[in-house]
Every structure is written in structure tokens, then in C-alpha cells.
């Protein structure tokens, strides 16, 4: 009975999130240097608007909006998975240094010209960087002897992240000035380089990975009561952890390859959704995908309009929104709430 009510409530919430997501996408397509009314946006998407409007909406804004939606979905779901895996509401790809590791991988590929060899060189290099980073962070936390202690994990993540950001700046010193400018975008994150090609590359990797992570929602629920209990409830914990770490590293790596290291999406979105609908991952993961996507589309719309004709790195917008939430969570966590 109560279960039935919960299922209906989650279905309604998800329907609401779909509508909100569509609204954010439409706003993202309407707003910019030239304001396009919603009717003309819809016409352009159907291919019936005039050529100039089609160029603005479909050629310029649509790839950027789609990339932001994909990356937002990927980062928010990865955040929720890290939080369940580490049983820590503060865990998030950026805070854990995983995004910075992916950015080092991506910048390495660019500086050494590997991107010319294959369109997959960039995401694969970023994936490897993400795997290296999460392995280092977990090894540091384990070496400190306190397992998954919040302080040690956060400290390890911050230190590894700082180290990787320094590596990026070191690497770009071997490159030309243009690459140097681009490196700042890797560190802060931006969708200004979005193209239909980058949308496709991210979609090819991230969407299947998100489906797989979504199918692991139930064992992920069990992980939140501890690995020992999950093991005795029938979860092959070692195998699940391997799957989840590889899966999230892939998602984070490819997202970072598409747009740089954008922070706090994976923190703010799952937290807000847990407050609204609880922490059952069967609802939380799809909700994170929708809300993360919508949130990042909205954040990017702000980033490219608020100081027009210049634009802010989108990571600045998400950090301004995310840091207060992070601090609030940290204080609550310390109080043992």
C-alpha cells in the first residue's frame, strides 16, 4: 500500500522533471545574442523556419544545449553513484579529483597531438585519467588507514585535484598560446567548443554507460547499508564495485573530454532529489539524469548570457551554486545528522 503510493509519487515527480527538462532546453534554444521566440524555435527544430533562425537554433545553440544535457546527466548520475559507493553525501567526481584526472588525460592527448589519430583518442585518454585519479584517491585514503573516512577522502580528493590542475598548467607550457587559453576552459569547464561531433561522441559512450548504471540501481541501494550487509543480501560486492568505478570513470572521462571539469553538479543535483523523493536509486538515478541535464543547460544559458557578449566558464556558475550546498552538507554531516 505505502509502496504503491511511493511508486505513483515517483512517477509523478519524474513526469514533472521531464517537463522541467524540456522547458530548460527550450529556454536554452531561445536565449542568446538574438532572442528567438518559442514558436520559431519549434519551427526551426522542424526545419521550417527561415535559414538564419535555423542556423542560430539548430546550428549554433542545439549542439551546445545537447552537450550540456548529456554532460549534466552524466555528472549527476556519477555523483549519486559515488555517494552510494562511498556512503558519503559529499562524494562527487569534481570534489574527489576524478574530473581533474580526466582533464589531465584530455590535455595530454591534445598537447601530444594524439587527437589527430582518432576521434576516440580524447575520451579514452580522459577515461584513463579518471581511472588513475580515483585509484590514487582510494589508495591514499586506504593508506591513511581509515578506509572511507570523510575527512581523508575529501582531503585526498582536493590534494589529487590540485596536483592534476598543476599538471595541466605544466603540460600546456609545452604548447602554444591558443592551447593555453583552452587549458583554462578544461580546468573550469565550458561548452563553447560544442559541435555536433562532440555531442555524438559523448552520446555514444555516456548513454549506454548510464543505462548500465541504471540497471545496477538495486544492488546500489544495498551498498548504502555497508559492504558487509550488501554481501550477505546477495550482492557480489567486488564485482559490483569494479563495474561502478569503471562505469563512472568512463562517464566522467567522456564528459570532461566534451566540456572540461565542471564541478558540483554531481553534488547539488542528487542531494536536492534525495530531499524530494528519497534515496531509492531506481528513482534517484533517472531523476539525476533529467535534473542534471536540465540544470547544466540552464547554468550554461546563464554562463553565455549574463556577461554578453563575453561568456563565463560554466564551471563558475555551478561552483557559485554548489559551494554553499557543499558547505551546508559538510556542517550537517559533521553534526551527525
Amino acid at each position: 500500500m505505502t509502496r504503491h503510493v511511493t511508486v505513483t509519487r515517483h512517477a509523478l515527480l519524474l513526469a514533472g522533471l521531464v517537463l522541467a527538462f524540456v522547458a530548460m532546453v527550450l529556454v536554452g534554444l531561445m536565449v542568446g545574442a538574438v532572442r528567438v521566440p518559442v514558436a520559431e524555435v519549434l519551427a526551426a527544430l522542424r526545419g521550417s523556419a527561415d535559414a538564419q533562425t535555423r542556423t542560430i537554433v539548430v546550428g549554433l545553440r542545439l549542439p551546445r544545449v545537447l552537450l550540456a544535457a548529456e554532460v549534466g546527466a552524466g555528472l549527476a548520475v556519477s555523483g549519486a553513484v559515488f555517494q552510494a559507493l562511498l556512503r558519503n553525501p559529499l562524494a562527487e567526481p569534481y570534489v574527489l579529483g576524478v574530473s581533474s584526472g580526466a582533464a589531465v588525460g584530455a590535455v595530454t592527448a591534445i598537447v601530444f597531438g594524439m587527437t589527430a589519430t582518432s576521434m576516440f583518442a580524447l575520451p579514452i585518454a580522459a577515461f584513463i585519467g579518471a581511472i588513475v585519479a580515483i585509484t590514487l584517491v582510494l589508495a591514499m585514503a586506504a593508506a591513511a588507514g581509515r578506509g572511507l573516512d570523510t575527512h581523508v577522502l575529501l582531503l585526498a580528493g582536493v590534494v589529487i585535484g590540485a596536483f592534476f590542475n598543476a599538471l595541466i598548467l605544466l603540460l600546456v607550457n609545452f604548447a602554444d598560446l591558443e592551447t593555453f587559453r583552452a587549458a583554462m576552459l578544461w580546468i573550469m569547464g565550458s561548452f563553447s567548443g560544442a559541435s555536433s561531433e562532440s555531442v555524438t561522441i559523448v552520446a555514444v559512450w555516456v548513454i549506454p554507460a548510464l543505462v548500465v548504471l541504471g540497471l545496477l540501481a538495486r544492488p546500489l541501494n544495498l551498498m548504502s547499508v555497508g559492504e558487509q550487509s550488501a554481501f550477505h543480501l546477495g550482492v557480489d560486492v567486488r564485482q559490483l564495485k569494479l563495474f561502478l568505478y569503471v562505469g563512472t570513470s568512463l562517464v566522467v572521462g567522456v564528459c570532461v573530454a566534451g566540456s572540461g571539469a565542471i564541478g558540483f553538479v554531481g553534488l547539488v543535483v542528487p542531494h536536492a532529489l534525495r530531499l524530494v523523493g528519497g534515496s531509492d536509486h531506481r528513482w534517484l538515478l533517472p531523476a539525476c539524469a533529467l535534473t542534471g541535464g536540465g540544470f547544466l543547460v540552464f547554468a550554461d544559458t546563464i554562463a553565455r548570457t549574463i556577461v554578453a557578449p563575453a561568456e563565463l566558464p560554466v564551471g563558475v556558475v555551478t561552483a557559485l551554486a554548489g559551494v554553499p550546498v557543499f558547505l551546508w552538507l559538510l556542517i550537517r554531516h559533521e553534526e551527525g545528522v
Binding site: 509502496r3 555517494q83 556512503r87 548504502s224 555497508g226 550487509s229 550477505h232 546477495g234 534525495r274 528519497g278
Partner: protein, 272 residues
């Protein structure tokens, strides 16, 4: 028929000076209430972890229902053996019913769609563990004793053959402790469960368990009925404290079982 069979099982933790378990052989018979006793650091938890497949033995074999325990898949074994930990993390808020529903994981498919039998199993488990009225409460707002009963309900929802509990009453007051032991007896006597419980409470173990194992420094010190295991000499030696053993003489279950009374230090130092 014995469900668990351990043959000459040893286990050493990496870089430990002596083995945590040394040549343990035992059988846990179906329907038994099997109590695992021993001082702190005697290897009780290690023995449980080896029996439950969390640790692989350094030497010797563990079989469950006649099959080597490492040949069972995780989901498969979880429909046979349920474990109640002493405590577990609560990273995110969750209702009592959601926690008990986790017990159906090994019985349901990838989406966790539950049929009428699953819901019945959950209702019955909550009823039996005495948490039926707590279903909608947040697990974080419960007392330690209530949380422990919710974890027992989750284990029962797994519909296992064996329930394994690791010091289930260590943090509980007398009321919850007695309720837990009464529940364990009810499960073995009326519901054909087998229960394995690690505990520090020698007297309740002597009253409620059908078979006792006393561990000391990773070895079996005594194994048998309460009368065989709970003697003043054995308990005094293993726990390094003088005790006398009396008898529980109230009528009803457990009547006549040995009861340990530790003496005070002054008595022990008195000559004679």
C-alpha cells in the same frame, strides 16, 4: 543433518604473529541454536566471517549443505543464509519498510518487481521481529534496540534456512536482549530455523542455546551441550577470572541450565 561442516579450518590474517583460527572442526546441525562464545580476540568474528564466505580459509574446508561454501553464488547463498550485523552505516535516510524490503533482493529480478509472496514475506518478517508498526518511520529515528529488530526483520525477509547473528545484543538493554534470545528460540523450535549466534552473554547462551562452542586464541576450548561447556574450571581458565557455576532453577525452557557467577577479585586472592 548438518548444514555447516568445517574440517580443520585455519585462517591467518596477513602479517599476524599467530593464526586467528587454528584447526577448527565443527558441525552445525539443522534446527540447532548454536552459540559461539569466547573472550575478546578469541576468533569468534573471524570464525563467523569464514563460515559466511567473507574470508577464504588458509587451510581446511567449509561446506554448506554438502557443497563447498565458495561454490555458492552470492544471490543463491543469500536465500539460504541471512546475516544480522552488530551495526551498519546509515548514509542516507530510509524508511524501515524499505530496509526490510532489501531482504527480498536475492529473490527478485533486476528491477525488483515484487509479487504477492514477496510482500507477504516482508509483512510476516516485520510481524515476527516486532516492527510491523514501525514501517513508515525513518530508520534514523529509531532506538538501538528497534534498529536491531529491523535488521532481524530484514534477515527473516530473506526467508533463509540459517540466521547468523554477530553479538546481536551487545548494545541492548535487558528487555531487548531477552526479546532477541526468545525470538531466536522461537525461530529454532517453532519455525525450523537454524540459528548461529556469537555472544558474550554466557548465561543466556547456556539457557537458550542447544549447542555451545567456546573459542580461545583461535582454538576450540570446549564444544557441546551447555553442561559440557559451562564449567567453573573451563570458564575460569579461558576468561582468566574465578567463577562459580550455579543452576537456573525456574520452571520452563532452559530450566536446570548452568549459570556463571563471577567472583570478586578479593575472593579470588583469599587463600584456599
Amino acid at each position: 543433518m548438518s548444514l555447516f561442516e568445517l574440517r580443520d579450518v585455519s585462517y591467518s590474517y596477513p602479517s599476524a604473529p599467530r593464526p586467528a583460527l587454528d584447526g577448527i572442526s565443527l558441525d552445525v546441525a539443522e534446527g540447532a541454536l548454536f552459540a559461539l562464545l569466547g573472550p575478546n580476540g578469541s576468533g569468534k568474528s573471524t570464525l563467523l566471517r569464514v563460515m559466511l564466505g567473507e574470508l577464504s580459509t588458509s587451510s581446511g574446508g567449509v561446506t554448506y549443505a554438502g557443497r563447498p561454501s565458495d561454490s555458492w553464488g552470492r544471490r543463491e547463498i543469500a536465500t539460504q543464509i541471512a546475516f544480522v550485523p552488530q551495526a551498519e552505516p546509515m548514509a542516507f535516510p530510509m524508511t524501515v519498510r524499505a530496509l526490510v524490503e532489501m531482504g527480498r533482493y536475492p529473490h527478485t529480478g533486476i528491477l525488483g518487481r515484487m509479487g504477492p509472496h514477496d510482500r507477504e514475506a516482508i509483512d510476516e518478517a516485520m510481524e515476527r521481529a516486532g516492527v510491523a508498526e514501525l514501517g513508515g518511520r525513518s530508520i534514523r529515528n529509531l532506538s538501538g534496540g528497534e534498529r536491531q529488530r529491523v535488521r532481524i526483520a530484514r534477515a527473516l525477509a530473506q526467508e533463509p534456512k540459517i540466521l547468523v547473528l554477530d553479538e546481536p545484543t551487545a548494545a541492548l538493554d535487558l528487555h531487548f536482549e531477552m526479546e532477541t534470545f526468545e525470538l531466536m528460540r522461537e525461530l529454532t523450535e517453532e519455525r525450523a530455523f537454524t540459528v548461529v549466534v556469537a555472544t558474550h552473554n554466557l548465561n543466556l547462551a547456556a539457557r537458550y542455546a542447544t549447542r555451545l562452542l567456546l573459542l580461545a586464541e583461535g582454538r576450540i576450548e570446549a564444544l557441546g551441550s551447555p553442561e559440557d561447556v559451562i564449567t567453573a574450571e573451563t570458564i575460569g581458565r579461558v576468561y582468566r577470572w574465578p567463577v562459580i557455576v550455579t543452576s537456573y532453577e525456574e520452571s520452563g525452557p532452559g530450566s536446570g541450565s548452568p549459570q556463571v557467577v563471577p567472583l570478586s577479585e578479593a575472593v579470588s586472592s583469599t587463600p584456599g
